[in-house]
């Protein structure tokens, strides 16, 4: 299995500011994903981040609001730009691991509160 860490683990931010969330994996992975989990809701895929190419965004999510970097096979960042209270959520990084079975492992999440 992959060990995934995220920074920061939580933050409280002011409206209109931006926050960059880091995701670090202990092994090289091809596919990395960013999800959002709003209070009382399920996880929703924001985008897929592949090394060496632009991120692919899901319907309802745009690059200007959620720019993503993927500089190498073990690291990615998600920025939440020009934040509003509606962006208060848990943001989760996940990676796809291929081996005996395909699966996706998740990081611990970043809890964001926007005031």
């Amino acid at each position: 299995s992959a060990v995934i860490s995220q920074k920061p683990s939580r933050d409280i931010c002011q409206r209109g500011t931006s926050l960059t969330i880091q995701c670090q994996v202990d092994s090289q992975v091809t596919m990395m994903f960013w999800y959002r989990q709003q209070p009382g809701q399920s996880l929703t895929l924001i985008a897929t981040a592949n090394q060496g190419s632009e991120a692919t965004y899901e319907s309802g999510f745009v690059i200007d609001k959620f720019p993503i970097s993927r500089p190498n096979l073990t690291f990615s960042t998600l920025t939440v730009s020009n934040m509003s209270p509606e962006d208060s959520s848990i943001y989760l990084c996940s990676v796809e691991a291929r081996g005996n079975q395909e699966t996706q492992y998740f990081g611990p999440g970043t809890r964001l509160l926007v005031l």
Binding site: S1, I4, M31, F33, Q41, S42, L43, T44, L45, T48, T56, Y57, E58, L92, E96, Q101, E102, T103, Q104, Y105, F106, G107, P108, G109, R111
Partner: protein, 113 residues
């Protein structure tokens, strides 16, 4: 649009009382059915991936089953430490998010001693 529905939304059991959590979905070409456990304040913990009808996987008191008509997670003789939210997710075979997962809202399971 891919959708996943889990039932029940919440389930309270006595310790040792077995039950099943259900997952239904509409997806354009299923590549995999995933089950996760999520504890409060933590990221989802991977449990199982199922790929085809007739497949079953077990881990301790949990058994995941995928048939043509049924997809469920059965918990046998649960203990209080099994209390968590159990998430079902599907991976579709096509589309821009082909490798990402579509999640249900989960079943919040409470096991009372």
């Amino acid at each position: 649009e891919d959708q996943v529905t889990q039932s029940p939304e919440a389930l309270r059991l006595q310790e040792g009382e077995s039950s099943s959590l259900n997952c239904s979905y509409t997806v354009s070409g299923l590549r995999g059915l995933f089950w996760y456990r999520q504890d409060p304040g933590k990221g989802p913990e991977f449990l199982f991936t199922l790929y085809s009808a007739g497949e079953e996987k077990e881990k301790e008191r949990l058994k995941a089953t995928l048939t043509k008509k049924e997809r469920f997670l059965h918990i046998t003789a649960p203990k209080p430490e099994d209390s968590a939210t159990y998430l079902c997710a599907v991976q579709a075979g096509s589309g821009g998010g082909a490798d990402g997962l579509t999640f249900g809202k989960g079943t919040h399971l409470i096991i009372q001693p």
